[in-house]
């Protein structure tokens, strides 16, 4: 297959469509973890609101004073929430890493896409992907530390300087740089995992090195497809926000409609995540095939000589 953007996107969309059954696994896992983080809050809300008339003002609109008071009354519980979110998200991330092995495996061998094949891939690649995850987290942390230091540097440079606009522009550029670098780390991490699985290798750092070479040679294709899929995800969010604003807050049964819409967005986001990996597997397969073709033709030339 010629690795044009269109071909990659069409083939990847087909691959995702053929493996849509896995989306329910991802969705279910996501919902279970979100539920774990919602139940403590629900208990607090029940305690605070189930007999209170203030609830009606919250159903129809938002009561900011209630929000301030609720945050103050349950301060100790709410202060713990970020830690709980981090702990649960850490476990969720490990499970996602586990699922990712299966997902890449079924995209690699489209005919072997039963749940047994999926979990076989999950088990087989989990440890390798875990190493990539650790490297990625270190790199993300480094990026955020770098971002902090850049912020300090900008503050230092603008002490005693009244040029607000210049400071705002430079600070914005700092965030754009952060976003770009996060994107790069994500791409490197994703392609390393794809490469580890497809080439069936285990050495993470040497794989990162070869992925960097691969990305350098095919940067435009890789970056453009990554950007396209990401923008597709962003379009979904925009459409959701537009539709959600149209749903009235009463009568109460519109709550169900809003919930259905929210879950559609969550499923769409999971679909986009599958689409990312599908495009990455297809691009990687094409690029490696091209390399192989070049090698073979070189060999033939040598024989002819």
């Amino acid at each position: 297959m010629k690795n044009t953007m269109k071909n990659v996107l069409v083939q990847s969309a087909r691959d995702v469509y053929n493996n849509l059954k896995f989306i329910f696994l991802f969705w279910g896992t996501n919902a279970v973890f979100a539920l774990l983080l919602t139940l403590p809050l629900y208990r607090l809300l029940n305690e605070n609101l189930n007999r209170s008339l203030i609830g009606s003002s919250l159903t129809h609109d938002f009561n900011y004073t209630w929000f301030l008071q609720f945050s103050n009354i349950f301060k100790s519980n709410i202060d713990e929430l970020p830690y709980l979110i981090i702990a649960v998200t850490a476990i969720y991330t490990l499970i996602q890493t586990f699922f990712l092995g299966g997902l890449i495996s079924v995209f690699h061998f489209p005919k072997k896409n039963h749940f047994t094949d999926f979990f076989y891939g999950s088990v087989k690649y989990w440890y390798r992907f875990l190493k990539v995850l650790i490297v990625s987290i270190v790199l993300y942390a480094a990026l955020f530390i770098l971002n902090d230091y850049l912020g300090d540097l900008i503050s230092f440079l603008f002490v005693g300087n009244g040029n607000e606009l210049a400071e705002i522009i430079i600070r914005s550029l700092r965030y754009l740089l952060l976003i770009f670098l996060i994107g790069m780390v994500t791409m490197i991490s994703d392609y390393t995992k794809v490469s580890l699985a497809l080439a069936d290798r285990e050495k993470v750092f040497s794989e990162i090195k070869s992925v960097l070479v691969l990305m350098k040679k095919n940067f435009y294709l890789i970056f453009n497809i990554f950007l396209f899929v990401a923008l597709l995800g962003a379009v979904g969010s925009v459409i959701y926000n537009f539709l959600e604003a149209l749903i009235p807050s009463e009568p109460v049964y519109f709550l169900i409609l809003a919930f259905v819409l929210q879950q559609m967005l969550v499923i769409f986001r999971l679909y986009i995540r599958m689409f990312f990996y599908s495009t990455e597997v297809n691009i990687y397969k094409d690029i490696v095939a091209d390399f192989a073709a070049v090698d073979i033709s070189d060999d033939k030339t040598e024989i002819k000589k």
């Binding site: 008071q69 970020p82 109460v252 709550l255």
Partner: protein, 429 residues
């Protein structure tokens, strides 16, 4: 995904900047002239209630030139309000000077001048800027013209000024909407629940109206055990506690007074305090004296006023239960959860009617038995939230039948935010 959620937010914010901020006024010859210090100088004239005209000189930094219409509006409205309700503005002009953020000058050296700093971007329906300017102008009355007896009385200046600013904005501006700052400076309408380093992680982009007193309430809740309003400044443990003692608590107290005794009575008390202080400074004792003499239903409210001003007592009243105790007979049990005492009204809502009771709020519990042929729905105390220091309005009411709709509705929304957050954060794997 996380990157693009952030890009989306950034794009949204960039697009909405044009909505959020006032129209940018291009520099033009008739707008003003640049002074030697690089500031834009513009003058406007305000005719007050007494038909006096006051010239306002604006010295604005060029990058804040777009805020000039907002400045003109709030300065004119505040001067008119003060002249009408408190007393005549004693000067012929007012200077409004915009200072760079990096200059640590909080107060003006001239009696008829105010200094301020402003953010580069101001959200159209967020009024902290207006509140700040109006407070500073009112402070000319209560801090410059009238002198405090001691620095411990600074709350009279700051608290009364902020209350005046609240009234000016409340009367002349649409509802305030909540904003959060993206990357530290871009105001976005909505609420952020979880963020890292100015990067919002769990947030919602919507227009949420937010009462003008919210920022003061937030600071009060954060410093709930701060020094009493009429206490000594030296007792405050830190700068924030001192600010709560001198600015936010007295302002909230004045709002409570406003809700309890009405705006006219409250402004009358302030005006009387101002007039007496012009003759000779009366300080906090003079102010409290005027307050106690002037407020209607004196006895009950005075107990609250003295408690709110002289002690750090907290306030929380609750309806603990509403039960049917016989045929057409119902019982309300209300309680005072904290030491602070406030006279409260208790309403019992039936399908067709509202029954009203009064409670002086002194006892720890109050039992009310009433009869009604109608179906009783709920009981509520202080329904108009007159006691602004009440820590929990949610327990002010009690429904006969529980309703889980709201908790489910809020929990579902939270569930969705969490689903998205863990997709975004979890995608690092």
């Amino acid at each position: 995904m996380k990157i693009f959620a952030f890009i989306l937010l950034l794009l949204y914010s960039t697009l909405s900047i044009t909505e959020n901020i006032d129209e940018i006024i291009p520099p033009s010859k008739n707008l003003g002239k640049e002074t030697q210090s690089g500031k834009i100088h513009k003058t406007t004239t305000v005719a007050t209630e007494n038909r006096d005209s006051i010239k306002i000189h604006f010295f604005i930094q060029p990058e804040h030139e777009r805020h000039i219409e907002r400045l003109k509006k709030i300065c004119s409205l505040t001067l008119k309000f003060l002249s009408k309700n408190i007393g005549k503005y004693p000067y012929s002009d007012l200077s409004v000077v915009d200072i760079p953020k990096n200059i640590q000058t909080a107060e003006s050296l001239n009696a008829n001048a105010i200094v301020f700093d402003a953010d580069y971007f101001l959200a159209k329906q967020s009024y902290e800027f207006e509140i700040s300017i109006a407070s500073k102008i009112a402070s000319i009355y209560f801090g410059n013209i009238v002198k405090n007896i001691s620095s411990d009385d600074a709350w009279l200046n700051y608290g009364l000024s902020r209350y005046i600013a609240h009234k000016v904005v409340e009367k002349n501006y649409p509802l305030q909407m909540n904003t959060f700052h993206l990357a530290g400076y871009l105001p976005i309408y909505g609420i952020t629940f979880l963020s890292y380093n100015e990067i919002p992680i769990i947030y919602t982009l919507r227009y949420f109206d937010v009462p003008l007193e919210s920022s003061s309430l937030k600071k009060y809740y954060e410093n709930i055990n701060s020094v009493p309003i009429a206490g000594n400044n030296s007792d405050a443990l830190n700068k924030e506690e001192l600010e709560v003692k001198n600015v936010h608590k007295p302002y909230l107290f004045m709002l409570s007074l406003d809700r309890y005794s009405g705006e006219n009575n409250t402004l009358g008390i302030i005006s009387e305090y101002y007039k007496q202080s012009l003759v000779s400074p009366v300080g906090k004792d003079g102010f409290i004296d005027i307050l106690l003499k002037t407020t209607p239903t004196k006895y009950e409210f005075n107990r609250y006023a003295l408690s709110a001003l002289n002690t750090a007592d907290k306030f929380d009243y609750a309806v603990d239960s509403l039960t049917a105790i016989g045929d057409n007979e119902f019982q309300i049990i209300a309680s005072r959860k904290e030491a602070g005492v406030f006279p409260v009204e208790i309403f019992a809502y039936t399908e067709k009617d509202t029954l009203k009771f009064r409670w002086d709020g002194k006892s720890v519990h109050k039992k009310i038995i009433f009869q009604s042929n109608e179906k009783v729905i709920a009981a509520e105390l202080d329904p108009r939230h007159k006691n602004i220091f009440d820590l929990n309005y949610a327990n002010n009411s009690f429904m006969l039948e529980p309703d889980y709709t709201t908790s489910v509705s809020v929990a579902i929304r939270w569930f969705f935010w969490i689903q998205n957050a863990i997709i975004i954060i979890g995608s690092v794997g």
